[in-house]
Symmetry: C2
Subunit: 75 residues, 2 copies
C-alpha cells in the first residue's frame, strides 16, 4: 500500500526521531567513561531506555505504514 504525502511525512518523522535516539544512545558510552558505581547503572538504564523508545517509535512508524495510524491532509 502506498502512503499519501501526509502519511509518508508522518512515518518519516517517527523513523527519523527513532534513528536519532539510536544515534544518541550509541554516543553515550564514550561520553560517560568517567562514571563509577551507581552512575554506571544510571548510564546503562539511560542507554536501554533510548533504544527502547526508538523501538516504540519504529513500531508506531510501522502502524503508519500499515494504515492503522493516519494523518489527515492539511486543510
Amino acid at each position: 500500500m502506498s502512503l499519501d504525502k501526509p502519511n509518508q511525512e508522518l512515518r518519516r518523522e517517527l523513523k527519523d526521531i527513532a534513528s536519532g535516539l539510536e544515534q544518541a544512545a550509541s554516543k553515550v558510552p564514550s561520553l560517560t567513561k568517567g562514571c563509577q558505581g551507581e552512575e554506571v547503572t544510571t548510564v546503562l538504564k539511560l542507554i536501554a531506555k533510548l533504544y527502547e523508545d526508538a523501538d516504540r517509535l519504529a513500531a508506531l512508524a510501522d502502524e503508519v505504514k500499515a494504515g492503522r495510524i493516519a494523518r489527515a491532509k492539511a486543510e
Copy 2:
C-alpha cells in the same frame, strides 16, 4: 473533543516517550561531568537533540488530540 481509547493510548504513548526523553536529557549533565573539549560540544548537542525530539513528539501528541492524526480501532 474527547478521544476514543485507541487515540487516547496513542497520545499517551507519544507524550510518555517525550517525557522520557526530557528525563534522559536532564540526567546527561551529571553523567558527563568528566567530558572535556570537543566532548562537551557533543554532550550539549546530545542534550539539545533529546529536548528537540521531545518537542517533536509532543507536537505529534497535540495532532492526535486535535484529531489530525488518528489510530484506527483494533479489528
